[in-house]
């Protein structure tokens, strides 16, 4: 199988701060690839560059065979994404949010309704399709975002900490869905998470990123044997150390504020 994502010498500078520092990696078609790293390591910045939201300072990328900078429209057709922070319009219903997406992704009119109902069923929200999203719990909103990210049947699915702030029940539920879905559709998954057991269960290969640099990559087994540790968590700590990190533009705090605002 060929590579569906190729990244070479990628750099992103923000006014004197190097968020992503010369990283290279590849993701094979159909595999689940996890990007692990402490807060502020450069995971989200990398995803934003791969998904055309940010322009890189330097380096080259290929996503589904296209350059995210020069062929952004083709790249945008090829992936679905669940962002780290909420990205639904809470003043619209679940159905309206998905319809917006379906139209934006140019899904033929005849198929839209069928496709929307399929994905809603998959995340068990079909009976709530006409409820306003603002009445949904955090977990339900997350499930809706996952449903939305796959309506247009993308080749690649980016999941940026999709289970952040959710209870264990919802997390297990979401990963079960994802596993089933990716096996059935042979979708490539690029995910980031802070839950090591999630990465261990889901990922075929893992890259560990710290201070903008990739410090190790390989299968869970390879990482464990490389660091002579027994679990992925120990391997992660062996590679990235125990010191606490500061994160610029703290997305997680913002997330919590939104959660409060929405009365979750």
């Amino acid at each position: 199988m060929g590579n569906i994502i190729e990244v070479k010498d990628l750099v992103k500078n923000f006014k004197g701060l190097t968020a992503v520092d010369n990283i290279s990696f590849t993701v094979k078609e159909g595999e689940t690839f996890a990007f692990l790293g402490p807060n502020g390591a450069g995971k989200t910045t990398t995803i934003k560059m791969l998904t055309t939201l940010l322009h890189p300072t330097n380096g080259s990328m290929l996503v589904a065979g296209f350059d995210p900078v020069k062929e952004s429209d083709k790249v945008r057709h090829s992936f679905g994404i669940v962002f780290q922070d909420p990205s639904l319009d809470t003043d619209l219903t679940a159905y309206e949010n998905l319809l917006f997406h379906a139209v934006m992704y140019n899904i033929p009119k005849k198929e839209r309704d069928k496709r929307i109902k399929e994905v809603l069923k998959l995340v068990e929200l079909l009976d709530r399709k006409d409820s306003f999203v603002k009445t949904f719990s955090g977990g339900m909103q997350r499930r809706l975002e996952i449903a939305r990210s796959i309506i247009h049947i993308p080749k690649i699915l980016f999941l940026d900490e999709p289970t952040i702030g959710l209870d264990p029940q919802t997390r297990i539920h979401i990963w079960q869905h994802m596993k089933k879905l990716t096996i059935e559709s042979k979708m490539t998954v690029f995910l980031t998470t802070h839950y090591m057991e999630e990465a261990e269960k889901m990922a075929d290969r893992i890259a560990i990123i710290d201070h903008g640099k990739i410090v190790a990559q390989g299968t869970v087994k390879e990482l464990k044997s490389k660091t002579k540790t027994k679990s992925l968590e120990q391997a992660f700590l062996a590679l990235t150390g125990h010191s606490l990190r500061e994160e610029a533009g703290n997305a997680k705090n913002e997330f919590r504020q939104h959660s409060k605002l929405w009365g979750r």
Partner: protein
Amino acid sequence: MMGAIYIMWLRQVKKYWRSKARLIGSLGQPILFLVALGFGFNHIFENAMGTSYVEFLVPGVIVMSILFTSMFTGIELIWDRQFGFLKETLVAPVSRTKLMLGRTLGGATVAVAQGIIVMLIALLVGFRPSLTGLPIALLFMFLIGILFTAFGTAIASRLEDMQAFPIIINFIIMPLFFLSGALFPLQGIPEILDTIIRFNPLTYGVDGVRYAFGGVAHFSIFLDLGIIAGIALFILALGTYLFHKIEI
């Protein structure tokens, strides 16, 4: 593919229609202008000019409500950025130009709707326009809506601060409105004021709507149309350019 523009437009119109508080709340100011100024000055105006002040003022107040509504729709962009929906639109395979067009058409539609409601209220208090001019009036109203939605969006695309937006917008809107001939006739005003007013694009929008309803224009209707359409296109292009540069 017009679908993307349509769905962007539909989203804005739906949200406007659902927010009855916003719909009704934003009628307060135009009604106040209409009643307080319209009836307050009507007698004096009639004695001096020989025509009704209400007839003169209503086009100005309609334009005012369009100006305010359309400029303030820019805040929806900041709102979308804050609450994440902007990311969903920016990763979609739709050109930034279409996103900008959808947003501008949506904002302009909402603003024109607001203008029409003000016009209907004015009919209740005695406004009697010429109905043949209605299509021309709607054209001008829509162009004004496009111009100032694009303007508001352009400002919002460079601004992340939700609190600062209304302050900046008010700072721009007030002089635009008061120095546009919406409230007073342009005959016999001091030269410096006349010069300033001629540089204000809203002046030509007010003049166009007034011509459409009453048949009298201070400038030529073609000059009005040319200037308002030209500037609307220019601001739309500028807004599209700034929209292209958004990174999150």
